[in-house]
Symmetry: C2
Subunit: 148 residues, 2 copies
């Protein structure tokens, strides 16, 4: 293989990124994701954390579970849910089987809000929809591999 072709090969294929470069790109991607999320939440007067909690409530769940999913102290969740409840996006229902447990439930308004946030996010990250089947599979596999 001539040296010219070798150079051409380099130019078209380019060297694979180092782990350090990938780490940088991950940092940028994560920052970008949360920036989008914060903006989408902010459009409804919600903080990132409030938006996150709404997004988790696909089904009612105890405060405790929310704390575990958010990887934070339970006392933290109290305040966040308080503020969501003050806006009627969420309500607490004490579990009849175990009256210590308070299940957090989305109100109708809460469902509408989370739906709009999700919609905004998908129109913001249009590129996701434009990936072909192959790329979607690869992206899913790679994300799952790096963050097991």
């Amino acid at each position: 293989m001539s040296i010219i072709l070798a150079i051409l090969g380099f130019m078209t294929e380019s060297a694979p990124p180092t782990p350090a470069q990938l780490m940088d790109q991950l940092a940028r991607a994560a920052a970008a994701y949360y920036r989008h999320f914060a903006v989408a939440s902010g459009e409804h007067g919600l903080t990132l954390m409030q938006g996150k909690v709404l997004g988790l409530l696909r089904r009612p769940m105890p405060m405790r579970t929310l704390a575990e999913l958010l990887v934070c102290d339970a006392s933290n969740v109290t305040g966040i849910v308080d503020r969501l409840q003050a806006r009627d996006l969420v309500r607490r229902e004490t579990d009849p089987a175990d009256r210590r447990i308070k299940n957090v439930v989305l109100t109708t308004e809460g469902e509408r809000t989370v739906e709009r946030i999700r919609a905004r996010l998908t129109t913001d990250l249009t590129a996701l929809e434009q990936l072909d089947d192959e790329d979607r599979r690869a992206f899913q596999r790679l994300l799952g591999q790096v963050f097991p």
Copy 2:
């Protein structure tokens, strides 16, 4: 193609993820990335934001630039840099060419700290190093495509 083979095909190839599923996985990945980052920073008594600022200071830069990179108010950076400076991880140097500008510089201790945080992060995300050249290229391309 018989229905059996079709089912087998499904089972081995599986359907490509929908954009919504990818969005979920992105949410998990971004959360995981920041959790790792927060832990790595926390090991040195630093918050996520303080760690982020240290990580940005590969070269000295004005407070203003830091605010732009962090996408936050300039007044915010004042406090963060104050706390980093109180621990001698960083110092302010007023720019001789424009004495309004204060360039934030890593101290030797700051360099060591950021190096350790980076090291911790790369050992945490070992999977990055285990990707082959093909996967690294693909991951870089996909991340760049989704978060341009």
